[in-house]
Symmetry: C2
Subunit: 341 residues, 2 copies
């Protein structure tokens, strides 16, 4: 039995969209799994009634869809640190605390990302050997999707932190994407080890000794191809500044380019884009916050019900593969490699 707490109040269209996501997820989870809707009970009940009515009156199994009351809501404009201290009875804080105290196995939210990162770090703490958590995202490529991290949790990164991201991405690719001995590339401006920023050049040398399947440097052009000169890529390691810029660039360049192509092909851009399952971010669910000793899955504020449903499935997979224990073990194994200062 896996118990997944879902922030019913998080996201641009909460609680309607998270509640719909929960209803979509239930049949795809094991029959013993439970989704815990965290938030204002009245608002959740109203959204549930609406969703059930829209679904021809078919009610979900009440034993598998519970409600956990939380009176406050963290707004998108709230400061990250204000979440835990300022709104202790918010759906986010209550949902995360439920896991920290053993009442839940995972947490999923489409709410304020900064608040979720800060609260997850405070309530779960970091694995030993880490200085920062990292956000792992999935980039569709011409080959298999690749994991890109960090995607925005850390803007200025040391070489040691880049190596930490490589270890986190390694376990993520193995446990969540099912990749065997994941191939890890370090994002830089040239394939030669002497190319890159000071932190990247130092990280390159450390990664050669880190006991990982390290491909060496990869370039911007290798990401879309999903491979570099040294072979197929599973994980791309970069600082959170570059990762965040790339992620947001990708999310908007895709509709622009596909729209352009559709226009030239005389097709409806929306229809064509809708058919491109490869590019559908909703397919890949949420982005796990890696490094914290708990399961905390971050979704876009504008996530669809299907995107949040897929994030719930990512949470389930993180729990069943015991990803966090796995990360802790890998970090301990890597302790022979240079440790963070």
């Amino acid at each position: 039995m896996t118990r997944i707490a879902l922030d019913a109040m998080g996201g641009d269209h909460a609680p309607r969209v998270p509640v719909s996501a929960a209803l979509l997820a239930l049949p795809e989870l094991d029959s013993s799994d439970v989704i815990q809707l965290v938030g204002k009970p009245d608002a959740i009940q109203a959204a549930l009634d609406e969703a059930v009515a829209a679904n021809g009156g078919k009610k979900p199994d009440a034993s598998r869809l519970t409600t956990v009351a939380a009176t406050e809501v963290i707004e998108m404009s709230d400061k990250p640190t204000a979440a835990v201290r300022g709104k202790p009875d918010s759906s986010m804080t209550v949902g995360l605390k439920l896991q920290a105290t053993g009442g839940s196995d995972a947490f999923v939210s489409a709410g304020n990302t900064g608040a979720q990162m800060a609260a997850s770090t405070v309530l779960f703490r970091l694995h030993s050997g880490l200085t920062r958590p990292a956000i792992a995202t999935i980039f569709p490529t011409a080959r298999k999707p690749v994991v890109v991290l960090d995607a925005g949790a850390n803007v200025d990164c040391s070489a040691q932190e880049l190596v930490q991201f490589a270890r986190l991405g390694d376990v993520y690719a193995e446990d969540i994407l099912g990749r065997d001995h994941p191939a890890i590339g370090l994002l830089s401006v040239g394939e030669e080890p002497e190319k890159g920023s000071a932190a990247v050049k130092e990280a390159h040398q450390m990664l050669r000794e880190a006991g990982l399947n390290f491909l060496g440097n990869v370039e911007g052009r290798d990401i879309a191809r999903g491979e570099c000169g040294a072979g197929a890529i599973d994980v791309v390691v970069c600082d959170g500044f570059t990762g965040n810029v790339l992620l947001k660039f990708y999310e908007t360049i895709a509709p622009f380019l596909v729209g352009l192509a559709a226009k030239h092909a005389g097709r409806d851009p929306r229809e064509l884009l809708g058919g491109l399952k490869e590019l559908d971010y909703a397919e890949y669910g949420g982005a796990p916050l890696l490094g914290v000793k708990g399961v905390s899955i971050i979704c876009h504020g504008r996530s669809s019900a299907r995107a949040i449903k897929n994030a719930i499935l990512v949470a389930k997979r993180a729990v069943t593969t015991d990803m966090n224990t796995h990360i802790g073990r890998r970090l301990a194994e890597g302790a022979a490699a240079p440790e963070p200062a």
Copy 2:
């Protein structure tokens, strides 16, 4: 009369492609303009004979297409610094020296980029107030194309250098793209001034006082749109690491996405991509190395004749608008703003 020196030996298919580019450029230049083909005279003559034969025997005006002899060739694998010292009679060094000594007005090459940057900096020197040159590239967007710089000349950048790039991009957008009072965005991970790396946050504050049309921070998602919350964007300022990764990502994600869309639309990807003039890098010509006191246009090694032809037109425009004097004047005007350490 503008005299443009073209590195006939630079690029993956030299001298054939540069020579073809020169023949394409001549009718698009003023009738008094001259292209100076720099390289091995025999090889240039053979390429010329071939191009003339392919063109039905129509010979170019010999007074407008001259040859400047250079016995050496800088290979793609040569170290940047070796160019000037190691191969003083290379087409690149001879072509740049011709300008430095007043015998030419601009230089265009599809050869070794690192060598071109190093040799241009040594032979032309930097404008006062600059610590590094920058590479300005053009990104197609849903609106007008935007200038992104630096695209790879500088990996670790200080706040002062980011401000320098803003000044260089400002003049470039005005002189080469014809933008009036160009709108400048600083690439970051959020629009708020307190978002970003240490250098970006400091640069943000400096840019507010720099006398430029500064929009504030822009994000990865704003580039493809060509606009941010504050309005349309003409120039995106970033460090050379991020810019290089983004540029190479864009160059490969475009064919991937358009190919995907074409497949779903039941169209030939090459045909569709070929029709998308908006995405054709050859349209935008080469990337000027900004900050040096000379005109040095950098082309991809794999540039087509049309791409090099367009780079020659960019060179012509840089000469006629007197972009370099303009840059020097703007930098002097900006001297009231904080200077590089």
